[in-house]
């Protein structure tokens, strides 16, 4: 990464005994779409508020283009922000809302008018300039909030669950639009969400938070395919977890054993023989076949049909239940309860998790 636009060093924020942020260190590259992802209460809003300057870190520092801004008030930071509930000013019209950041910067009236029109066009709200926020739908309010946050050419745009109040269809549309807007403007986006699909589909990079700690960061594909721990593996998509013991190593390949099954995992993690840990297997990477064709025999317990895919739960004598997800259009066996089957997977489908 070239010099980051924003860096946070060892950020800590406590509320009583709760660590809302626990030793957070993070670099944000100029122009990237970074997503903070985590369950409710994981500290996403706290981290965003610390970046925006609404809360002061107890310890640690924040710098913008190598300049320390830890103690700067929010208005000095020049970040655009879209809030969880949009926070459009109810007494001002759409145009006045968008003009607000320019007015406080004492821009000339002509420039303000032009820029407001430009920003409203950008989010296709040009026809609504004279309405009050309560006269707009949720999706329209969201667009205005976005236009307002962009109107003053902020260095970084902070978005706190901007789509969470919208219905699923609209959300999908706006995800595309947001992403397109990001690519067009080249502004750095820091985006908070607890929706993993949203994170996977939009981000250049995802940071996964839990209990105020960064669990893992990386490109969506890397996080999905190489989760570091059980939390990440479970939070991003679904996983089957199996307790294993390391039995040996040959080059990059580590062999592990569970009760009644053997696993081979490609990893450079330095684990001693005898270490107890977990492996994760994605449901969609498991293959379902006639008995005897693959190496693990099991019995179908339950099938649920989801349209393009179907989910199958099978039981294995010693590993217990495993979840599979198969394409419904695939020919081959049709899973039915109590049907004996066998299960297999490719070597690279098996991910070794860090021991706890």
């Amino acid at each position: 990464m070239s010099t980051p636009i924003l860096s946070i060093r060892q950020g800590i924020k406590r509320y009583g005994s709760v660590h809302a942020l626990d030793d957070v260190t993070l670099d944000v590259a100029d122009g990237e779409f970074l997503t903070l992802l985590g369950p409710s209460g994981s500290g996403k809003t706290t981290l965003l508020s610390a970046i925006a300057g609404f809360i002061r870190l107890d310890e640690g520092s924040i710098s913008l283009r190598s300049k320390d801004i830890t103690k700067q008030p929010p208005e000095a930071r020049d970040f655009g922000m879209v809030f969880q509930g949009y926070a459009l000013f109810p007494t001002m019209t759409v145009a006045e809302n968008v003009a607000f950041p320019l007015k406080v910067r004492k821009k000339p009236a002509k420039e303000i008018a032009d820029r407001v029109a430009e920003c409203l066009d950008l989010v296709q709200m040009g026809d609504f300039a004279d309405r009050l926020p309560i006269q707009l739908s949720g999706g329209q309010q969201q667009r205005v909030a976005l236009a307002r946050a962009l109107s003053f050419h902020p260095q970084v745009l902070l978005l706190d669950e901007p789509l969470s109040a919208l219905d699923k269809k609209l959300r999908a549309d706006l995800q595309w639009e947001l992403k397109a807007l990001h690519d067009r403007l080249g502004v750095t986006f820091i985006y908070v969400t607890h929706d993993q699909e949203e994170a996977l589909s939009m981000s250049d990079r995802i940071v996964i938070l839990k209990d105020g700690k960064i669990q893992q960061e990386g490109a969506p594909g890397d996080l999905y395919n190489k989760p570091r721990n059980a939390f990440v593996a479970d939070f991003l998509g679904k996983s089957n977890f199996i307790d294993v013991t390391v039995t040996g190593r040959e080059g990059d390949v580590l062999s592990c054993a569970a009760d009644g099954a053997k696993f081979e995992v490609e990893t450079d993690a330095p684990l001693e023989v005898g270490t107890k840990t977990k492996v994760a297997l994605r449901p969609e990477r498991l293959r379902l076949a006639e008995p005897g064709e693959e190496f693990l025999s099991a019995k179908v317990k339950q099938v649920s049909y989801l349209g393009e895919r179907c989910q199958v739960i099978v039981t294995h004598d010693s590993l217990g239940e495993l979840l599979l997800s198969c394409a419904t259009w695939k020919t081959g066996i049709t899973p039915k309860p109590d049907l004996p089957v066998s299960i297999g997977w490719d070597k690279d489908a098996c991910v070794l998790l860090a021991p706890e």
Binding site: F54, E75, M81, G85, F89, M92
Partner: protein, 280 residues
């Protein structure tokens, strides 16, 4: 059938209060109206007299002036209190609320008498100032408009604070935060974003205080000492001292109409229903 029953039970619930209001309030008020037009002779003589009297005019002007200054004073002081309670206090909120409401438990009479104790010729304030050598002869702090205003503002303050506070507590702090995040200083965020949202509360506080002040009797009577004759005291004089029931009644009709006019004018600018009933 069901609807009819519902209507009957609705009226049965309302009836007791309504009866009391009609028998002990509406009927006597109508009686006053009647007296205004019939005593001592039938006709509008009383109203003509009222319109011609310069003393009545002075009293009306005084009444509106005192009510207006009281309103402004209550709004200024009350806004600060309401703002602090809604935005800063946290574990002290219940205590501060209690302090606002507490005066309601003490009669207006007693509160007005305590101001006499404080502001009198040899009251606490004058004595303290004299003992400290700041003044030589006592200041005239009461039996004038100044004394009336101080006590009126004190008595009316909760009526200004409560509606403003209810309004402010409904305003999310996200707006001011958003304004700060967009580059506004603390003051700009307050003045351009927060304050406009509190105007409904300010308006209903203002209306409540102003209308109550117009007809207020006890405090002006005690602290004015007969020198600050607001309309309600003037009416009492006419009736008790001069047994002039006709003019007294005409004056109270006048006051009622004046108050109704204030509400009418106010309703052109603010939504009374939401200002006084919904408190939002």
């Amino acid at each position: 059938m069901g609807r009819l029953n519902e209507k009957v039970s609705y009226w049965m619930l309302v009836a007791p209060a309504l009866t009391i209001m009609i028998v002990f309030y509406i009927l006597p008020v109508l009686g006053i109206w009647e007296i205004a037009f019939t005593e001592p002779t039938t006709g509008v003589d009383n109203f003509v007299k009222m319109a011609e009297s310069s003393a009545v005019k002075t009293s009306f002007v005084l009444t509106f002036r005192v009510a207006a200054i009281t309103t402004v004073g209550c709004l200024l002081l009350g806004y600060i209190v309401a703002y602090s309670i809604s935005n800063f206090a946290n574990k002290f909120t219940p205590l501060m609320l209690a302090l606002v409401i507490l005066p309601f438990w003490v009669s207006v009479l007693i509160r007005s008498f305590s101001w006499i104790v404080l502001l009198g010729r040899s009251g606490l304030v004058n004595d303290t100032l004299r003992d400290a050598g700041i003044i030589e002869s006592p200041l005239r702090l009461m039996h004038n408009e100044f004394g009336v205003l101080i006590a009126m503002i004190h008595v009316m303050l909760p009526f200004a604070i409560l509606p403003m506070m209810t309004n402010m507590r409904g305003i999310s702090d996200a707006y001011v935060k958003a304004a700060r995040g967009l580059g506004a200083s603390e003051w700009t965020a307050f003045w351009n974003v927060y304050f406009p949202q509190t105007i409904p509360g300010v308006m209903s506080g203002a209306l409540l205080v102003f209308v109550l002040s117009l007809g207020f009797y006890v405090t002006p009577a005690l602290l004015g000492g007969g020198r600050v004759l607001m309309i309600s005291e003037y009416i009492t004089y006419q009736i008790q001292e001069f047994l002039n029931w006709g003019l007294g009644s005409a004056l109270s009709v006048g006051l009622l109409i004046a108050t109704a006019l204030v509400l009418l004018i106010a309703s052109r600018f603010i939504n009374l229903r939401s200002a006084l009933l919904e408190r939002k």
